[in-house]
C-alpha cells in the first residue's frame, strides 16, 4: 500500500506535470512576427554590463586596461552633456568590472556634476552618494545596481519634463561606449562568440530612427554619429552569418573615434 505522504507527493507531481503540459499545449510554438509590428513596444536598451557579463563568460578580460581616466570636457550644450553622461555611466560599469574603487568614486562625482549640468541633479544626488559609499565598501553588486538606478532616474527625470530626446542620447552614449569596449576586447582576443555579441541590428536601427528625429540638434557630433551608424549597420546586420575579425576591428575604429568626439570639444 502506498503511504499517504507518498500518495500526496505523487498526486502533487502529477498535478504539476498536467499543469505544465496544459500550459505548454496552450502556448503556440510559432508566431507570425510580421503581424506583431503594430503592437511592438520600443526596445529597452541593454546596459553595458549585460554585454560585459556575456563577454566575461568567454574568458578572462583585463578590465583595468579599459578604465578611462579622461573626465571629458565641460559642455554647455544639453545634447552633448546627455551623450557624455551616458558614456560616463558606461565607464562606471567598466570600472566595476575592473573593481577599481578610485575610478568608480570619481565617476560617481562626475555623473552628479553632469546631471546638474543638464538640470536633473536633484534626482541623482542620492544615487551618486550611494555609488561612492558602495565603492568605499567594495560592494560591486551595489555599485552596479546604483549605476542602473542612476541611468533610470536621469532618464525618468528627463522624460517627466518631456526631454525624451536627451534621454535617448544618454542611452546612445552608453551604447557607443559599451560597443567601443566590447570591440576593443574582441579585437585583442578574437572569437566568433565574442564577435556575435555585436549582432544588434534592431538596436542600431532604433538609434538611427531616434537620431533622424533630432534635426534640431545641429551639433557636428550628432551628425557624425548618424553617419557612423550607417557605416556600422552592414557590418553587424549579417543575418545568420558570422561577424569577421575585420568587421570587429572596423567597428572599434569607428566607435573609438566617436568616443573621443563625445568627450572632446569640437
Amino acid at each position: 500500500m502506498i503511504p499517504f505522504t507518498k500518495y500526496l507527493k505523487l498526486t502533487a507531481v502529477a498535478l504539476i506535470g498536467l499543469t505544465l503540459c496544459a500550459q505548454g499545449a496552450r502556448t503556440p510554438q510559432h508566431i507570425d512576427i510580421k503581424q506583431l509590428s503594430k503592437t511592438v513596444e520600443d526596445v529597452v536598451v541593454p546596459l553595458p554590463n549585460e554585454i560585459f557579463g556575456a563577454l566575461n563568460k568567454l574568458g578572462a578580460v583585463n578590465w583595468k586596461e579599459h578604465v578611462r581616466s579622461d573626465k571629458g570636457t565641460n559642455f554647455t550644450e544639453r545634447p552633448r552633456i546627455a551623450l557624455l553622461l551616458g558614456t560616463v555611466i558606461a565607464d562606471g560599469f567598466v570600472a566595476v568590472q575592473a573593481e577599481d574603487a578610485a575610478a568608480v568614486k570619481e565617476i560617481g562625482q562626475r555623473v552628479l556634476a553632469l546631471a546638474k549640468g543638464i538640470g536633473v541633479g536633484n534626482s541623482i544626488t542620492p544615487h551618486a552618494k550611494a555609488i561612492i559609499e558602495a565603492a568605499d565598501k567594495r560592494n560591486w553588486e551595489a555599485v552596479r545596481q546604483e549605476l542602473d538606478r542612476t541611468q533610470n532616474s536621469v532618464q525618468q527625470a528627463m522624460n517627466e519634463v518631456h526631454d525624451e530626446k536627451l534621454s535617448q542620447l544618454v542611452s546612445l552614449g552608453g551604447w557607443l561606449r559599451g560597443t567601443e569596449v566590447l570591440t576593443s576586447v574582441v579585437t585583442k582576443h578574437f572569437s566568433t562568440d565574442g564577435a556575435e555579441l555585436l549582432h544588434q541590428p534592431d538596436l542600431l536601427s532604433y538609434f538611427q530612427t531616434r537620431l533622424e528625429a533630432m534635426p534640431e540638434f545641429k551639433l557636428p557630433i550628432i551628425r557624425e554619429i548618424e553617419d557612423a551608424l550607417v557605416q556600422v549597420k552592414p557590418l553587424i546586420d549579417v543575418g545568420n552569418a558570422r561577424i569577421p575579425q575585420e568587421s570587429v576591428r572596423k567597428i572599434n575604429e569607428i566607435t573609438t573615434r566617436l568616443g573621443y568626439g563625445i568627450v572632446t570639444r569640437d
Binding site: 511592438v40 556575456a54 556575435e196
Partner: protein, 149 residues
C-alpha cells in the same frame, strides 16, 4: 454667463480632473511594477541582476502586447510580468526573431504573476509577448521587468 467664463470653467474642470486622475493612473502601473518586482525577488538571491527599467501599460482581456528585446548569448534571462488586479490571469512567452518559441520549460503562471525563462542560443532580437488572459477589469495594468546573470 458669457462664452469666455464658460470656456474658462470647462477648461479648469477638465484640468482639475486630469490632475486628480493622473496620479491614480500612474499609481496603477507603478503597482503592477511592484508585483512584477515581487515575482523577481527570489531570483535575485540566485544571482540575477534585475533591471530598473521596465515596460508597462494596460490591456483588455485577451489582448497581447509584444516587446522587442536584445538578448546576448552567454547570458541567462528571466522576464517577470505582474498586475495589481488580483483576479486577473496573465501570461508571458518568449520568441526568437523568426517567431519560434525560445523559452525554457520552467516558465510559470500564477494568477496575476507570470514568468518566462530564456537562455539565448544566439545573440539578437527576441520578442516577449505579454497577455492578459482574463480580468474582471475592462483594462488591466501590466508591468514587465527582466533580470539576467
Amino acid at each position: 454667463m458669457n462664452a469666455f467664463v464658460k470656456t474658462l470653467l470647462c477648461t479648469s474642470s477638465l484640468l482639475t480632473a486630469l490632475v486628480v486622475l493622473q496620479p491614480a493612473i500612474l499609481a496603477s502601473v507603478d503597482d503592477a511594477q511592484s508585483f512584477a518586482l515581487q515575482a523577481a525577488e527570489p531570483y535575485v538571491k540566485e544571482g540575477f541582476q534585475v533591471r530598473e527599467d521596465y515596460w508597462g501599460g494596460d490591456l483588455g482581456s485577451g489582448e497581447k502586447k509584444a516587446v522587442r528585446q536584445q538578448l546576448f548569448k552567454g547570458n541567462e534571462y528571466w522576464f517577470w510580468l505582474g498586475t495589481e488586479v488580483d483576479r486577473a490571469k496573465v501570461s508571458v512567452h518568449i520568441y526568437d526573431s523568426d517567431g519560434k518559441l525560445a523559452e525554457e520549460s520552467d516558465g510559470w503562471e500564477k494568477g496575476h504573476f507570470a514568468a518566462a525563462h530564456v537562455i539565448p542560443k544566439t545573440t539578437g532580437s527576441y520578442f516577449i509577448i505579454v497577455s492578459v488572459e482574463e480580468s474582471p477589469e475592462e483594462r488591466t495594468h501590466w508591468a514587465l521587468v527582466y533580470g539576467f546573470r
